[in-house]
C-alpha cells in the first residue's frame, strides 16, 4: 500500500489524538465511577449512622415502659426506611447486601412492632432482655451490612484509581512510543528517500542515467522519482556521451580520409595520397640517406582495349592490374593510381635492381593471368619506367619525371618493357 507522508503524519496525529482521547475518556469515566462509588460510600455511611442512632435508642431507652413514646423510634425507623429506598445505583454484590439490609429492616420493624404491641408487662426480665438483645442483633446485622457496603465502595474507589493510574501509564507509554516511532520512521523515510534522489542526480551528472529506486515508498517521493525517471529516460534517448561522440567522429573521419585518399575504381591510393606518401618517403630517404625507387606503370594499348571491349572492361582491366600489382609487392611498398591507365609504385629501401625485379614479377604475373571476357582471354602488357633516387633529384617531381621518361622510353622501344633511368653515383 502506497501511503503519502501527509497521510502518515495524519495517521500518527489521529492515533495520538485517539490515545489521548481514550485517556481523557477514561479519566471522565473514572471520575464518574469514583463519584458513584463515593455516593455509595456516603449512602452506606448514612445507613451506619442511622443504625447506630437506633442502637443507641434501644440501648438507652426503656422500650417496655408503658409511657414509652414511639415517636423517636418511628422517626428514626422512617428515616432508615426512606434512606433504604433512596439508594444510589449499586453493584450486583452491593445489591445483594442492600436486599439483606432491607430484609433485616423488615425483621426489625416486625420484631419491634410485636414487642411494642404486646408490651410484655408480665414477662420476665430474661425475656425482655432477650428480645432487646434480638433488636440489637437485627440492628447490628444492618450495621454490619452497611459497613460491608461501605468497604466495597471504598475498594471500588481504590480499584478505580489503581486502574486509572495503570491506564494512564499504559496510554502514556504507548503514546510516547507511538510518537517516537512515528517521528523516527518519518525522518528515516524522508532522509533515506532524499539521499536516494541525491545519488541519482549525482549519477546523472556523470552521465549514468539511472532510475531512482526508492527503498521506502511514499506518494510524494514516488511522484518525484517518477518525474525524474521519465526525464532521465528522455535524456538518455536524446543524449550521447562525449566518448561515444569522439569514437563516432573518429570513425567518420577515418572513412572520409579513406575516401579522400582512395581511387574509387581501383581502390588503390589516388593521386593526392600518392603525392602525400611519396613526399614523405622522399623526405625520409633524403634524411636517412636510404634508397628509394619509383616504378611508373602504364598499360599498353589501353585505349584500344577500351575502344574494343568497352569502358566497363577497361575499368575491370585497371582493377585487375592493381590486384596483380598488390600481389607482387611488399607490405612497405605503396601503389597508387597516377592517372588514366598509369600507376606509380613507391618502393622504399629498394635499389634499381629490386625495382627491376618487382617490375619483372608484375609483368610475368600479368602475362600469366589474363582477363577473361565472354570465355575469351584478353592479355595486356605493361610498359614500366623505373627511376631511383639520386643526387641530382632535388624534388619528388624530378624523380617522377625520370620514371615517366623511362616509361616513355619503354613505349618507344616497343612496349611490354622495362626501362631504367640510370642513377649513377648514388650515395
Amino acid at each position: 500500500m502506497n501511503i503519502s507522508l501527509l497521510q502518515r503524519i495524519l495517521f500518527f496525529t489521529l492515533s495520538c489524538c485517539f490515545l489521548f482521547g481514550l485517556l481523557f475518556a477514561s479519566v471522565i469515566w473514572s471520575s464518574q465511577a469514583i463519584e458513584l462509588a463515593l455516593s455509595r460510600d456516603n449512602y452506606a455511611e448514612q445507613l451506619t449512622n442511622q443504625t447506630n442512632s437506633l442502637k443507641q435508642l434501644v440501648a438507652n431507652d426503656n422500650i417496655y415502659d408503658s409511657d414509652y413514646s414511639l415517636s423517636d423510634w418511628q422517626n428514626l425507623q422512617v428515616k432508615l426506611t426512606r434512606l433504604l429506598k433512596s439508594s444510589p445505583k449499586l453493584t450486583a454484590q452491593q445489591e445483594i447486601i442492600q436486599i439483606s439490609i432491607q430484609s433485616q429492616n423488615e425483621s426489625l420493624k416486625s420484631l419491634f412492632t410485636l414487642i411494642n404491641q404486646n408490651k410484655l408487662k408480665n414477662a420476665s426480665e430474661t425475656i425482655k432482655n432477650h428480645l432487646k438483645a434480638r433488636l440489637m442483633i437485627q440492628l447490628e446485622a444492618i450495621r454490619s451490612d452497611s459497613l460491608q457496603l461501605s468497604a466495597i465502595a471504598q475498594q471500588d474507589i481504590y480499584n478505580t484509581i489503581k486502574n486509572q493510574a495503570f491506564m494512564f501509564i499504559v496510554v502514556s507509554v504507548v503514546s510516547i512510543l507511538a510518537l517516537f516511532f512515528g517521528a523516527f520512521s518519518l525522518t528515516y523515510i524522508v532522509r533515506k528517500s532524499l539521499n536516494e534522489i541525491k545519488c541519482a542526480f549525482e549519477k546523472n551528472h556523470s552521465g549514468h542515467f539511472q532510475k531512482i529506486k526508492l527503498s521506502h515508498h511514499s506518494q510524494e517521493f514516488d511522484s518525484i522519482a517518477d518525474a525524474f525517471n521519465t526525464m532521465n529516460k528522455k535524456l538518455s534517448e536524446s543524449t550521447i556521451s562525449l566518448t561515444a561522440m569522439e569514437k563516432i567522429v573518429e570513425e567518420r573521419t577515418h572513412v572520409l580520409e579513406q575516401l579522400s585518399n582512395t581511387d574509387p575504381l581501383t581502390k588503390v591510393a589516388n593521386r593526392r595520397a600518392l603525392f602525400e606518401r611519396a613526399d614523405m618517403e622522399f623526405s625520409r630517404a633524403i634524411r636517412s640517406h636510404s634508397k628509394l625507387t619509383l616504378l611508373l606503370i602504364d598499360c599498353d594499348f589501353f585505349k584500344k582495349v577500351n575502344d574494343q571491349y568497352g569502358h566497363l572492361f577497361g575499368d575491370e582491366l585497371l582493377i585487375h592490374i592493381c590486384n596483380i600489382c598488390r600481389q607482387e609487392i611488399r607490405d612497405i611498398d605503396f601503389l597508387a593510381r597516377y592517372g588514366g591507365e598509369e600507376f606509380i609504385l613507391i618502393l622504399p629501401n629498394c635499389d634499381i635492381t629490386g625495382g627491376i625485379e618487382t617490375a619483372n614479377r608484375i609483368q610475368h604475373s600479368l602475362a600469366n593471368n589474363c582477363l577473361k571476357v565472354d570465355s575469351k582471354e584478353i592479355c595486356v602488357t605493361l610498359s614500366i619506367g623505373i627511376s631511383m633516387l639520386s643526387e641530382r633529384h632535388k624534388s619528388l617531381d624530378q624523380l617522377i619525371n625520370d620514371a615517366d621518361k623511362a616509361m616513355y622510353l619503354a613505349k618507344e622501344n616497343g612496349r611490354n618493357r622495362i626501362e631504367v633511368i640510370p642513377a649513377p653515383n648514388l650515395h
Binding site: A92, S100, S110, N118, S124, A133, S144, A151, F180
Partner: protein, 329 residues
C-alpha cells in the same frame, strides 16, 4: 532507537504473557475435603459451586456427605467424618455451650422465613399466645427450638408454658399425623412437604421476619492447613454466589436436581433466601444471645456462656473477602 523501542515493547509483552501463563499453569496442591452438607436449599451455594466447577480452580477436591439438618452436619465434623459442615447459628450457639472444639469460618446464606410454625387447623391457634399449654414438636438444640422460644417470648411466654416434644427434623410431620402434637416447628423443605401433604388440616403462621436464620461453614478448631482449605472453599463459594446472583434460574435447576425437589417448592422458598458471604459482629451477638437464652430457658443443660469469639475464625475470610469481615478485635 526504533529497534530499541520495539525490543523493549516485545520484552514487556513477553514478560506479561509469561507471567500470566505461569500464573494460570501453576497448580496448587489439591486437598481432598469432605463436607457434611445439610440437605436443604440453604446449601445451594455448595451444590452450585460443585455443579459449575467453582472448586476446580481452588486447592480443594470436594466431596459432599449429605445429612438432614445442621446438627447432624455438626456431629459429622466433630466425629471427624467430615472436614467441614454447614450449620445454622442456632446449632452453633447450642454447641458452643457444650464447649465443643469448632470454629465458624463464614456465613453464606440467610433467611427470615426458613423455620415455620405449623399448627393443627382445628387447634385454633391464631397467635403464639394460643400455644400456651399446647403440645409442640421441635428438633432439640436447633433453630427449630430457638425459633419457638422466640415466638413464645414475644408473648411473654417461655418453653415451660408449652409441652415440648422432640423429634428428628424428618419425623416432625409423623408426630403431627399421629396426633402426638398440636403444632410443630419444621424448617424447609419439611415445612413445604407438610403443607403439601396435610393441606387444609394445618395452618401455617405468618412468622416471616421474626427470626433470621443464617447458615455457616464450620469446622473443627482450625490449624493453618484447615484454614487454607477453608479459604479455598470460600473462594469456590464466592464464585457460586456470584453465579447464583447472575443466573438464578440455572441455580434453581441445579438445586432441584441435586435435592430432588419440585420447582414449585424452590419458587416458594427462593425469595426468602439471601446468598452472601460474610462474617460479622451480628453473628457473634446472635450466637451469644441464643446461648444465653438457652441457659436462661433451660433449653441447654449448660449454664455458662462461653466466649463466642473463640468459635469464630476469620483468617480464611480475611484472605478471600476482607471487606465482608466485620468483627471488632
Amino acid at each position: 532507537m526504533l529497534i530499541l523501542s520495539l525490543v523493549t515493547l516485545l520484552v514487556c509483552i513477553s514478560a506479561i504473557l509469561l507471567y500470566l501463563n505461569f500464573e494460570s499453569r501453576w497448580q496448587q496442591p489439591k486437598y481432598p475435603v469432605v463436607i457434611a452438607v445439610s440437605k436443604t436449599p440453604l446449601s445451594t451455594p455448595f451444590y452450585v459451586a460443585k455443579a459449575i466447577g467453582a472448586f476446580d480452580g481452588t486447592c480443594v477436591d470436594v466431596e459432599f456427605d449429605e445429612v438432614l439438618g445442621g446438627q447432624r452436619a455438626f456431629a459429622k465434623v466433630m466425629n471427624g467424618d467430615a472436614d467441614f459442615g454447614t450449620s445454622s447459628d442456632s446449632v452453633i450457639a447450642f454447641k458452643s455451650l457444650a464447649g465443643r472444639a469448632f470454629v465458624t469460618h463464614a456465613m453464606f446464606v440467610q433467611s427470615d422465613n426458613d423455620v415455620k410454625l405449623i399448627s393443627r387447623a382445628s387447634a385454633k391457634v391464631n397467635s403464639a399466645i394460643d400455644l400456651q399449654g399446647k403440645k409442640i414438636g421441635v428438633t432439640k438444640g436447633t433453630a427449630s427450638e430457638y425459633f419457638l422460644s422466640n415466638l413464645l417470648a414475644l408473648e411473654g411466654l417461655t418453653t415451660e408454658d408449652v409441652k415440648l416434644y422432640h423429634y428428628k427434623p424428618e419425623q416432625l410431620m409423623n408426630g403431627f399425623i399421629n396426633n402426638e402434637i398440636d403444632a410443630f416447628v419444621p424448617w424447609e423443605p419439611f415445612g413445604f412437604e407438610s403443607i403439601q401433604l396435610l393441606a387444609d388440616k394445618v395452618k401455617v403462621h405468618q412468622t416471616k421476619g421474626l427470626n433470621t436464620l443464617v447458615f455457616n461453614l464450620i469446622s473443627a478448631t482450625a490449624d493453618t492447613l484447615l484454614v487454607e482449605k477453608a479459604k479455598c472453599l470460600i473462594q469456590g463459594l464466592s464464585i457460586a454466589i456470584d453465579y447464583i446472583a447472575s443466573y438464578p434460574t440455572q441455580s434453581k435447576k441445579i438445586v432441584i436436581n441435586e435435592l430432588n425437589l419440585s420447582a414449585e417448592f424452590i419458587d416458594w422458598v427462593w425469595p426468602d433466601y439471601i446468598f452472601k458471604l460474610g462474617l460479622n459482629q451480628s453473628l457473634v451477638l446472635s450466637v451469644e444471645s441464643q446461648a444465653m437464652w438457652a441457659i436462661s430457658t433451660q433449653m441447654s443443660q449448660f449454664n455458662e456462656v462461653p466466649n463466642v469469639e473463640h468459635f469464630i475464625d476469620s483468617r480464611a475470610m480475611l484472605q478471600v473477602m476482607p471487606n465482608a469481615v466485620n468483627i471488632p478485635k
